[in-house]
Homo-oligomer: 235 residues x 2
Amino acid sequence: MDVQHIEIADYFIQAISQGLYQEGDRIPSEAELQVLFGARRSVLRRAVARLEETGWVTTRQGKGSFVTSRKVPIDYELSSRTAFSSIMKEKGIVPRVALLHWEKRAAKQREQDQLALGIDETVYALEILRSTGDVPLSITTTVMPAYLVPDLEAHLTGFHSLYALLSRNYQLQPRRLKSIVRAALPEPRDAQILNIADHAPILQIESFVTHRGVNLMEYSMSRIRGDLNKSCVTF
Amino acid sequence: MDVQHIEIADYFIQAISQGLYQEGDRIPSEAELQVLFGARRSVLRRAVARLEETGWVTTRQGKGSFVTSRKVPIDYELSSRTAFSSIMKEKGIVPRVALLHWEKRAAKQREQDQLALGIDETVYALEILRSTGDVPLSITTTVMPAYLVPDLEAHLTGFHSLYALLSRNYQLQPRRLKSIVRAALPEPRDAQILNIADHAPILQIESFVTHRGVNLMEYSMSRIRGDLNKSCVTF
DNA sequence: AATCATTTGTTCGTATGTATC
DNA sequence: AGATACATACGAACAAATGAT
């Protein structure tokens, strides 16, 4: 390859791989790169852009470009009974759960199919942000038929764990029936909330949850930061 | 936002979302955009680059930029017994399996751990490309202890299905014990083989496979195109 | 087979704006 | 307020891939 910006990017990929730059280190500024490589600034910017696209550095205006810290992904056990809070506690991580939004409304067409609802059925839809400390981890949209969780809004103040809420107030025992995972790109809004670039990979997990094996009581769609999660399935 | 390239990119995201441009349609060339938006070429290129990063278009030198066709992801059943070929056949898709590479060598440290091997143990490592028709779908690296599949090279000519080979020649009945999924970015080489951009998301699936519940007989690491796959887990 | 127009890719060169400290 | 560093934009030239003549 005799394309300058790729050669320069490759140089840094090598250097970072070999430990010449540690996580969090700043790579040389554009002005310094200009001296080091004798290339035009536009070329250097392309090189850094490439490094950012491929996840090696993150760039911040006015500060510089920093080697992305390869956080250890958190193993998430994907099983029929899994609750975020309990997994985190097991690992000694302080979980933070925030209710971004909730609404009570008529079920959309897709939700009717997913939850096997009749037409004009009412659902509660919650949007939940899960974090560890101050690092956002995932956003989950969860939809439940309103008749299963009547007067849900009364229990949403001080929200901290969905399954604890369901168990305490409605004696519901959620059980995951099926999950569908896929790798994708985030919606712009999700990228912002999760504090990732809009081309950073996310893991989408759609889940179908029953109560006592009869009703489809919950449909959820999680969008999880790819750099912070590994989901584990045991057969 | 009063940043030109973002405004222009957003215009096309809107237009594509509203069906003004269909999948596969060419968006205006840079010269045409120059007339339409009255912006510098560098700005227009940034706009198109943004569209490509976020998966709306794919650009080809000498031809133009085309609205990415949102292929329907192929559902992949992730269970204790799953073979690629049979899943594809069930769906009426013609699967194509190619052995990219194989080698017999000493197990690496990680592989010793993953397969619970002793030191200096020999393994076979295969690299398999799976496609549907002419569209590449996934690359899988699979590692097996050599003592379980002696003289494996003798059976690799005309390779078409790993599990058929294992069953026929070694009476092995693979059973998946555990899988770990995660969303990530591809290695440059994988991106090239899979015919995707090097910032396109991929689904990584690590699998641990046993034979009759005793031996860890296979460790595999699949890298699957995010745009073409949904993996489904039933509990 | 060779040439040419079209289209994207790369680079050079300059200027100004904006965030950070 | 000033220095540093990244962000955006203007302006121009040539390279490389593509498809048609």
